[in-house]
């Protein structure tokens, strides 16, 4: 009966303690911790990091550890591999149950998720105010994602700048070169893509049905967003959005954009050669390069711009992530580490680039020789320095706390529009759904 009495005791204690916790719940949010980073002499200590992708982010972290250890031999990192979805679930669980002591020192976060997390769970973060990081060395468009109330919460790492990647051998058959697809408009793209399709039977783009990624990229390229600066939805009366959807529909109807039903299928389309190009964040290059038989046949350029829309540019972004310092961190050490590596070390970025294709957001890398190396897979184009140039010109975009609601509502609207619903009606519905979710 020992087990029972022990359990009964535990049960009673549990009831009491949780009862007490429940009473103290509902406390107002405390401001994120921020101690100043004074640094003299080598630092030592261990930091824990939560991040995903061993070939990309985690690899970069490990290299950063090595570099920092040169001057600070007593330093070490413990990296816990955690997929993004799980990371978000963990962060929410910890914050909601007020157990921020379980947080690591540093964690990686998707750029699109910063606003939602910082606004709802400020207790998770420390801001970068006292870290010494020079944010002017990062593109304004990217730091904007992780800036709330003029404070920085994220150090941009993984570059999400959008590129247009095309099969040069395929477009050549229709008599085109990459220059014909550079600095053009979408109507121009449509004409040329139709010609390529007629000549070779291949579409130039593919995408997941019901995913609004491409349309979001078009929207951002014109500096427009789904929400205004105050966080109110701007899904209706949004000429850039209407135009983006219209362009998308034309691409699908002309069959120059193939819609598939899952991410794996999407990757399969260009890996298997059924589709001759793609537009996505620069990180898509990794997937393209798994098709080893297509080496030398690809090149990149910037995006087409929207016709007739004010503020349209040829540049945009999709995704990307930044490093956040948690509220539970050894702030001095974490801030110094990040400042000296991801915000200060050319050798770091030069090391990780060739083996992982991890493109930096750090602007000083634009002049780096490693970044300007011609890349064999991409027809000897210096793709990486090109991407850095693009990233300087990416317009800002408002995400806001309800970004995912907005994005999903627009995705649903697009599916309906492609099936014949009138765009204005569908977008009205989307706006209503987002407003409902915001209640």
């Amino acid at each position: 009966m020992n087990r029972f009495s022990k359990m009964a005791a535990l049960a009673v204690t549990a009831l009491l303690s949780v009862g007490m916790a429940a009473c103290s719940g509902g406390a107002t949010a405390t401001s994120p911790a921020a101690t100043s980073a004074t640094s003299t002499g080598p630092k030592s200590g261990k930091l824990t990091v939560w991040a995903w992708d061993p070939t990309f982010n985690i690899y970069a972290m490990k290299e950063a550890e090595k570099i920092y250890q040169k001057d600070n031999p007593g330093f070490s990192l413990e990296i816990v591999e955690t997929p993004w979805d799980d990371l978000q679930t963990k962060l929410t669980t910890l914050a909601q149950s007020k157990e921020t002591k379980q947080l690591p020192d540093i964690f990686l976060m998707q750029n699109n998720a910063f606003q939602k997390n910082v606004i709802n769970y400020p207790d998770l973060f420390s801001d970068y105010a006292k870290s010494g990081v020079d944010f002017s060395q990062f593109p304004a468009g990217v730091t904007a994602y992780s800036t709330v109330d003029n404070k920085n919460y994220g150090l941009p790492f993984d570059n999400g700048t959008a590129i247009q990647a095309l099969r040069t051998d395929v477009i050549k058959e229709a008599g085109y070169t990459m220059a014909d697809f550079t600095d053009i408009t979408w109507s121009d793209f449509l004409t040329k893509a139709k010609a390529v399709k007629a000549k070779t039977g291949k579409a130039l783009l593919s995408g997941q049905a019901g995913s609004s990624d491409l349309i979001m990229m078009m929207l951002q390229s014109a500096g427009a967003s789904l929400f205004d600066a105050e966080g109110k939805p701007t899904i209706t009366n949004n000429p850039a959005l209407l135009k983006s959807i219209d362009v998308y529909k034309q691409l699908v109807d002309a069959k120059v954009l193939t819609e598939v039903n899952s991410w794996d299928e999407y990757i399969g389309t260009f890996v298997n050669g059924t589709v001759a190009g793609t537009i996505n964040g620069v990180w898509i290059m990794g997937s393209i390069q798994t098709a080893k038989d297509q080496s030398g046949k690809w090149q990149i350029t910037n995006l087409p711009k929207l016709d007739g829309v004010e503020g349209a540019t040829n540049y945009s972004a999709n995704g990307g992530s930044s490093w956040a310092i948690s509220s539970n961190a050894n702030y001095d050490l974490a801030a110094d580490f990040l400042n000296k590596t991801f915000a200060g070390s050319k050798p770091l970025y030069e090391t990780i680039l060739p083996s992982s294709g991890a493109v930096a957001n750090w602007l000083p890398m634009a002049d780096s020789t490693v970044y300007s190396q011609p890349q064999k897979f991409f027809g000897d184009q210096p793709v990486f320095s090109k991407v850095i140039e693009f990233s300087k010109q990416v317009p800002k975009n408002n995400t806001g706390a309800y970004y995912y609601e907005g994005r999903d509502a627009v995705s649903a609207a697009i599916t309906k529009i492609l099936n014949g619903t009138d765009p204005n009606t569908a977008l009205d519905e989307a706006q209503k759904n987002v407003e409902f979710a915001m209640r």
Binding site: L10, A14, S17, V18, A21, T48, W52, D53, P54, T55, F56, E78, V80, E81, T82, P83, W84, D85, D86, T89, K90, T93, Q96, S97, K98, E99, Q102, P104, D264, E265, I267, G268, V271, N272, W283, I284, G286, S287, T290, A291
Partner: protein, 265 residues
Amino acid sequence: MRRLPGYAFLTIAAIVSVFPLYYMVVSATNTSADVLNSRMLPGNNLWQNWADLTGAQNVASAMYYSMVNAVATTVLSLIVCSIAGYGFEVYHSRGKDRVMSVLLLAMMIPFAATMIPLFQMFAQFGLVNSTVAVILPAIATPFLVLLFRQSARSFPHEIIDAARMDGLSELAIFWRIFLPTMKSTYAAAAVITFMTAWNNFLWPKVILVSNTYQTMPMLLSNLRAGYVTNYGSLMLGVLIASVPTMVLFLVLQRSFAEGITGAIK
């Protein structure tokens, strides 16, 4: 001849069941690009996939911890739930029926809703990131209790009366008479509990904050989290993760499918 439709039906069911698994096995021997191309024939990329898999993740450790969790959960579960189910049925009363109905409510709420209060509880006991925390919520499930209660319905009470007259204590009756007779139910329950515990993903993911005690489902999730997924080694990982449940089933299936009919005497 009379049995031909039966055989035909079974054959179709077997093929439909096994076919996706065949695809999985074949994919584990192919390159990522071939898997995306739905290649149906085996390739010779198996060793490369194995190297990629073990290079990227600590498979042995994850298998070990998955095994520890699953075995501990299964053993404890069988004991706790079978005696409860026996208690509900053999000592039947209206009160117990009501208690059973109330307990059933516990499995009707989605776990996502109770996960955070549960986490908070364990955090306050300092049990975050421990094997105890992974196992404890999984031991007593209303489902298993219900299973044993329903199975106990077919256990004849005359035997219990006879045993009582022979002077056996209630616990002894349960342990020495009920348990050995209901082998088929225990075997079925063992397979199901093991399988559920082995594949459990959401709770371990939340309660384990470091990778030390990482389980196989978490490992597989890691494989899909990168920008580039190596589908060949992913399928290999899935295959390896499926083996223990299959082995357990193979070992136990005779017990619940070919048991001694009328063994009750």
